[in-house]
């Protein structure tokens, strides 16, 4: 493996991505909305309507079906809190947890579609194929270019989320309350595994899609399983805790690696050049 060539492809792809406003604006805006504005709203909501939250009506209405699925330690923790605190704790640490997964999936998909489909759309693929870089090295460079911002910005988003949630809820909760251990598993394990799925699907879609937009639209369906996770948790079907996260990580890793492997098989000079 020529690591210098792999690194060059990765840096070049990231430079091209960062120069394209259509690509980097969503990469900044979506994490801000998902990891800063939305959780901020969840924490500040009780202060906007203290009567409803103070009586506990809102919490029971929103989390009623979720509560029975919660493990005993969480219930005990909730038992010592007032309704406002219960709302903030459940909303930020449990309800919101699956939402985080949208971030690595979406970021990997945005960069991968620009890197794979975009290279062909802009007509820059052919000169690359005339160089001595191997198919595997070129593929590896592009995969890293998509994975690194997905994982990196996911971590940045998580840190921002932690700062905002703790800062906004500090007085109400009487101290720092976020993140929980489950969140660390989510960010460090399941997040990167989900990024791999986003990447794998986008690489496969990009091998057929003629444009970046086409590839992104087709990859957009990937957020549906995340929505299903949220709905499932709200409905009390399961508790999105450590065991579920670890299990989901294994499943996501297997699926992600299989998708990337399939993508690598389609990424061959002969195939690529025939589609230019």
């Amino acid at each position: 493996m020529n690591w210098r060539a792999i690194r060059a492809v990765m840096i070049k792809d990231l430079r091209v991505v960062l120069a394209n406003r259509m690509v980097w604006v969503p990469m900044v805006v979506v994490p801000l909305v998902l990891m800063v504005l939305l959780p901020l709203g969840l924490v500040l909501a009780p202060t906007l309507d203290p009567d409803t939250f103070g009586s506990g009506e809102m919490m029971l209405e929103d989390f009623g079906s979720m509560l029975p699925a919660l493990p005993e330690p969480v219930r005990q923790k909730l038992a010592g809190m007032d309704p406002m605190q219960q709302w903030v704790y459940l909303a930020t640490t449990h309800l919101f947890a699956p939402m985080f997964l949208i971030l690595p999936i979406m970021l990997a998909s945005i960069v991968a579609s620009d890197s794979f489909a975009g290279e062909r759309e802009r007509g820059t693929l052919e000169p690359l194929l005339y160089t001595p870089i191997s198919d595997q090295e070129l593929f590896a460079g592009k995969v890293l270019a998509a994975l690194m911002p997905a994982v990196g910005l996911g971590l940045v988003g998580f840190v921002l989320n932690a700062v905002v949630v703790n800062a906004a809820g500090y007085r109400l909760m009487g101290g720092l309350f976020f993140p929980t251990a489950d969140w660390l598993l989510l960010v460090l394990l399941l997040g990167p595994a989900c990024a791999l799925i986003g990447l794998g699907v986008t690489v496969l879609v990009s091998s057929k899609a003629k444009t970046v937009t086409g590839a992104q639209q087709a990859s957009g369906a990937l957020v549906l399983p995340v929505v299903a996770l949220m709905v499932g948790q709200m409905a009390g079907a399961f508790y999105f805790g450590g065991a579920v996260i670890l299990g989901a990580t294994v499943v996501a890793l297997v699926i992600g690696l299989a998708l990337v492997w399939l993508g690598a098989r389609t990424f061959q000079r002969g195939e690529l050049v025939a589609r230019i």
Binding site: R122, L128, Y130, P132, R269
Partner: protein
């Protein structure tokens, strides 16, 4: 020494034959023009020679390496200018070159010097650190040529190098190609449908049409094959076609053609010209000009293009 050898090189895409049984040899140091209309099979041939596409049948060797098994080695030793410059618009000229230098694994210190050298050579020094998106077509094409020769390749494939350029920029690119061809031992394989460019730059030509190599050789040799003997254009007036036929008959054995403003005749030698002119004048013609016909590459090209498929005009392809 051979730079390229093809033996029965064929490529099919499903039922369509894009390149059919090409036999061709290009010698080291030669400037070879590969002529043909769009879709004739030029690009597919180059892609096979660069090891990007596997031949469906036949074999080919580039710089002694088998295109079927040594694609990476071939690509390390060749440079390719694609039909469109295909540069990264958001990167600067220097970043574009440095990126490709990394892919060719040029030593960092050598790469820095080489990039500067090429930017100066192609008069892009002042624009070196500007994004390529703001470059003119001519600047982009010069940068693309710089990229193609960055690693000092032994063999250079140039696909329509002046396509879309204004006359001044096109001339600049031709001058650069000439310079490159004069550098020690570099072989140039020029794919084009610009006949004027091929005539100016190339030693030999090959004409491909519908995937089939119809002719290979030096333009003068090909002209001799198509038009044996000495062809002479005579600009004249004062004779109708019948009278012209009667006047030419005794001298021109193999016939003649009416052309704009006169007649084109085939003679055995220059010695027949005075007698021919005398006969025409005696028959009442006013002769204004007599000139041996010099066959242009365009004449040769269109003659080859109008040949039926399978009627190859070549020797051993070398």
């Amino acid at each position: 020494m051979e730079a390229i050898r093809c033996e029965g090189l064929t490529r099919r895409f499903d039922a369509k034959v894009a390149v059919r049984a090409i036999d061709l040899v290009v010698q080291h140091g030669e400037v070879f023009a590969f002529l043909g209309p769009n879709g004739a099979g030029k690009t597919t041939t180059v892609r096979m020679l660069a090891g990007l596409l596997q031949p469906s049948e036949g074999d080919a060797w580039v710089l002694g390496a088998d295109v079927r098994s040594a694609g990476a080695e071939i690509r390390r030793r060749i440079g390719v200018l694609t039909e469109t410059p295909s540069l990264y618009g958001s990167l600067t000229a220097r970043q574009n070159l440095a990126f490709f230098g990394d892919l060719y694994d040029l030593k960092p210190a050598h790469l820095r010097g080489r990039v500067d050298e090429l930017l100066d050579l192609f008069e892009l020094g002042e624009a070196a650190d500007r994004p390529v998106a703001g470059f003119s077509k001519g600047m982009r094409q010069r940068l693309a040529i710089s990229r193609a020769i960055l690693h000092d390749p032994e063999l250079l494939f140039l696909d329509e190098p002046t396509s879309g350029l204004d006359p001044a920029a096109a001339q600049g690119v031709r001058d650069m190609i000439q310079k490159l061809s004069q550098q020690a031992g570099r072989t140039i394989f020029l794919c084009t449908h610009n006949l004027d460019e091929a005539q100016r730059l190339c030693d030999r030509i090959g004409v491909i049409s519908e995937g089939e190599l119809r002719a290979v050789g030096r333009p003068a040799e090909l002209a001799q094959r198509f038009w044996e003997g000495l062809w002479v254009d005579i600009e004249l007036a004062g004779l109708e076609e019948d009278a012209l036929g009667k006047a030419l008959g005794p001298i021109v054995a193999d016939g003649w053609d009416l052309v704009e403003g006169g007649v084109r005749v085939r003679l055995s030698s220059r010695q027949e010209i005075p007698g021919l002119v005398e006969g025409l004048v005696r028959a009442g013609a006013r002769v204004y000009r007599v000139a041996p016909k010099e066959w242009s590459l365009a004449d040769i090209y269109f003659r080859i293009q109008h040949q039926p498929a399978g009627a190859n005009t070549e020797g051993d392809g070398a």
